[in-house]
């Protein structure tokens, strides 16, 4: 019986695809300052994971720990099923593309790319063939004799990539690969790299603080904030279903309205109540929450005008400002949400902005596509009614880390 079980187990383990890399509860302090706190994630075979976070959030530190350039205080790094936490960088077989590319300045492009094979003592002919095919892959065959200083930033980056591919790394780590390049080239290069990664099928970890880059590059995105993982998921999940206020505001623009969960899965926002369905069902009645929605998830019409059927009515408001922003139109709308006095024990429900003109209500920002804007033109000062196509109800604390230890739970 026991023998049977023992035999069975490896089989089931084989069924689930083992992650190419996994990081298990990494923690790291520098001189007593916590830089990483209990960070865990997996990177699947062939997957591109993007670590997204503000400056100083610990992205580079994670990358250096995976590469073996930094030792974690606690936690493990597992590459293809092997715990490499104690291995020195050179034995990990990980390819790092440094932010500065770190090409060897006195070696030619060819020598840079061939370095990994040279130190492994490969034959000259084998080296030449490999280098040639890699330079062809990154379209640099005609630059092979140049020194790195004679190349453009984008070319240097491709040399750096080819240099790591030469020794067939288990994983590629990119630290802000486009940071040093100007905006137009960035967009082109990240598409090129994405295509290249699909070809070679090597798992990759990208680091960036640019949300647009993250959304485009990543199969999944991990949002990091001050050493904590806030959320990890596909670009769609992270953008459309942010789990914390920090994630919602860090990835793209978001409107946040403070409210309280009321009966029948409604969220009370001052004097109006929004039908929130399953979103509200996750909370207790009376729990302070935030209604979070993206500017593009709002539909507007004149009062009495028709709104799409599957759109959740929000409130009425006044168009205060109108901007033409190229591809779309941006409206600043002041909702007639008047705060009611908080019930005993409730937090104040609104910061009522009482400007000198004593305007009441809550400003939100919405965007409309060009076609929508020209089909239903709106003037400044006009009264409108708003509804939401998609929104989130989030607990009233911005970070995932703050959830722990609170009595209020979101799971109910």
């Amino acid at each position: 019986m026991l023998a049977e079980r023992l035999e069975d187990e490896p089989d089931t383990a084989r069924d689930a695809p083992a992650p190419a890399a996994s990081v298990r509860s990494l923690s790291k302090s520098f001189k007593g300052v916590r830089v990483l706190e209990d960070v865990s994630f997996d990177v699947a075979e062939g997957e591109a994971l993007v670590l997204l976070g503000a400056s100083g959030s610990g992205k580079t530190t994670i990358l250096r720990v995976i590469a073996g350039l930094e030792r974690p205080d606690t936690g493990n790094v597992v590459l293809h099923g092997r715990d490499v936490t104690e291995l020195p960088a050179r034995e990990r077989g990980v390819g790092v593309i440094f932010q500065s590319y770190a090409l060897f300045p006195r070696m030619t492009v060819e020598q840079n790319v061939g370095y990994g094979l040279r130190i492994r003592g490969r034959k000259r002919r084998e080296r030449r063939e490999k280098v040639e095919s890699l330079l062809e892959l990154v379209h640099l065959l005609d630059q092979r004799k140049k020194l790195p200083s004679q190349l453009s930033g984008g070319q240097q980056q491709r040399v750096a990539i080819a240099r790591t591919l030469a020794y067939e790394p288990q994983m590629l780590l990119f630290d802000e690969p486009f940071g040093a390049l100007d905006a137009q080239i960035r967009v082109r290069l990240r598409r090129e790299i994405r295509a290249l990664l699909r070809d070679i099928n090597v798992p990759a970890l990208f680091i960036t603080h640019d949300q647009e880059e993250a959304l485009e590059l990543g199969d999944r995105i991990a949002v990091l904030h001050q050493g904590h993982l806030e959320q990890i998921g596909t670009p769609q999940e992270v953008y459309n279903r942010p789990e914390t206020e920090y994630v919602a505001t860090f990835l793209g623009a978001a409107n946040l309205l403070l409210g309280v969960v009321a009966r029948d899965n409604r969220v009370e926002l001052g004097t109006v109540a929004v039908e929130a369905g399953a979103e509200a069902a996750r909370f207790h009645v009376g729990q302070p929450v935030k209604l979070v929605f993206r500017p593009e998830d709002v539909r507007v019409s004149r009062p009495g005008g028709e709104l799409p059927a599957d759109c959740n009515p929000l409130a009425n408001g006044v168009v205060e400002e109108k901007h033409f922003v190229g591809a779309y139109e941006r409206l600043n709308i002041r909702l007639d949400l008047v705060a009611r006095a908080p019930r005993p024990g409730e937090p104040p429900l609104y910061e009522i902005s009482e400007t000198p003109e004593r305007r009441l209500g809550v400003p939100v920002i919405i965007t409309r596509t060009k076609s929508e804007a020209s089909a239903k033109p709106l003037r400044v000062g006009e009264r409108v009614t708003l509804c939401l196509t998609t929104f989130r109800v989030l607990p009233n604390f911005p970070l995932a880390s703050e959830r722990g230890g609170r009595v209020l739970d979101t799971q109910k």
Binding site: R92, V96, F98, F104, P105, I119, T164, Y167
Partner: protein, 277 residues
């Protein structure tokens, strides 16, 4: 500074600062630097090249020049090798007492060379703290080895300083990249670190050599100043001058001056090559 200069461009009319300032600089430089140097050459060749050549090829003069070159060479070799080691260890590892070691290594720069020579004598001399335990036949002082030792003592901070500053400002990601590619420490040092140090090694070596070949204060104390045996070129100049043989002194002085010119020119004009540009 640049704003001051561009501001001056807008001033119309005659600006006396330039001719006046330049004149002052040249006037000061003449008696301080140029004339003394020129006089060596003028005096050296005043009684004809033949007597200059005779003075230069005198056995003691040739020996003194050779001894200077050889001892300086060994001091330079030592400084480069151990300077590299010291700078590598002190810049790549952090440990207790690191700063203290750096300060100690650099200290001889601030010590008068005569004091340095004297200190070496007190340590290694026949009755010195260590020297008294060494047998008569293996005494270090008053031999060419003492000259090398004194040269190293005086010049090591120069080479170390040049190498250390390059180590500390070097882009660490190059070495890290090499490590992630799979290189051992030694491979990284050989293929990545050392090529970046080429300029610093050449500069450090030249500075050491230039300083060592002219070293006087410490050498005169530890060498014994025996003509044809432990007398270096600067000591020869001093000795001949004291004996009133100004021409003999001068011939060697010219060679030393030419050495310095050559080294200075390399440092100054070949900088781009040294830095690998």
């Amino acid at each position: 500074m640049s704003t001051a200069i561009s501001a001056m461009r807008h001033v119309r009319g005659f600006d006396p600062t330039k001719p006046f300032g330049l004149g002052m600089v040249i006037l000061l430089m003449l008696p301080l630097v140029l004339l003394p140097l020129a006089s060596i050459f003028i005096f050296g060749t005043s009684s004809g090249l033949r007597s200059f050549w005779a003075a230069l090829t005198a056995p003691d003069a040739v020996f003194a020049l050779k001894l200077s070159v050889v001892t300086s060479f060994y001091a330079t070799l030592f400084n480069v090798l151990f300077g590299l080691l010291a700078a590598y260890v002190l810049s790549r590892y952090t440990f207790f007492g690191r700063t203290a070691i750096i300060v100690t290594i650099s200290l001889p720069t601030a010590i008068p060379t005569a004091v340095a020579g004297f200190a070496l004598l007190l340590l290694w001399g026949k009755y010195g703290m260590i020297g008294r335990f060494i047998s008569e036949d293996h005494q270090l002082m008053f031999t060419p080895y003492a000259i090398i030792l004194a040269n190293i003592f005086v010049t090591f901070p120069l080479a170390f300083g040049v190498l250390m500053s390059v180590f500390e400002t070097m882009d660490k990601s190059l070495e890290e990249a090499s490590a992630t590619i799979g290189a051992t420490r030694w491979q990284t040092f050989w293929h990545v670190t050392l090529p970046s140090l080429r300029g610093a090694i050449v500069t450090g070596a030249l500075l050491t050599f230039a300083r060592a070949i002219g070293e006087f204060g410490s050498t005169i104390l530890v060498s014994g100043n025996l003509a044809g045996s432990t007398q270096t070129a600067p000591l020869y100049i001093f000795a001949k001058f004291n004996e009133g043989q100004v021409e003999a002194a001068n011939a060697v002085a010219i060679i030393l001056a030419l050495f310095s010119f050559a080294i200075f020119s390399i440092l100054f004009f070949a900088r781009d090559w040294i830095e690998g540009k």
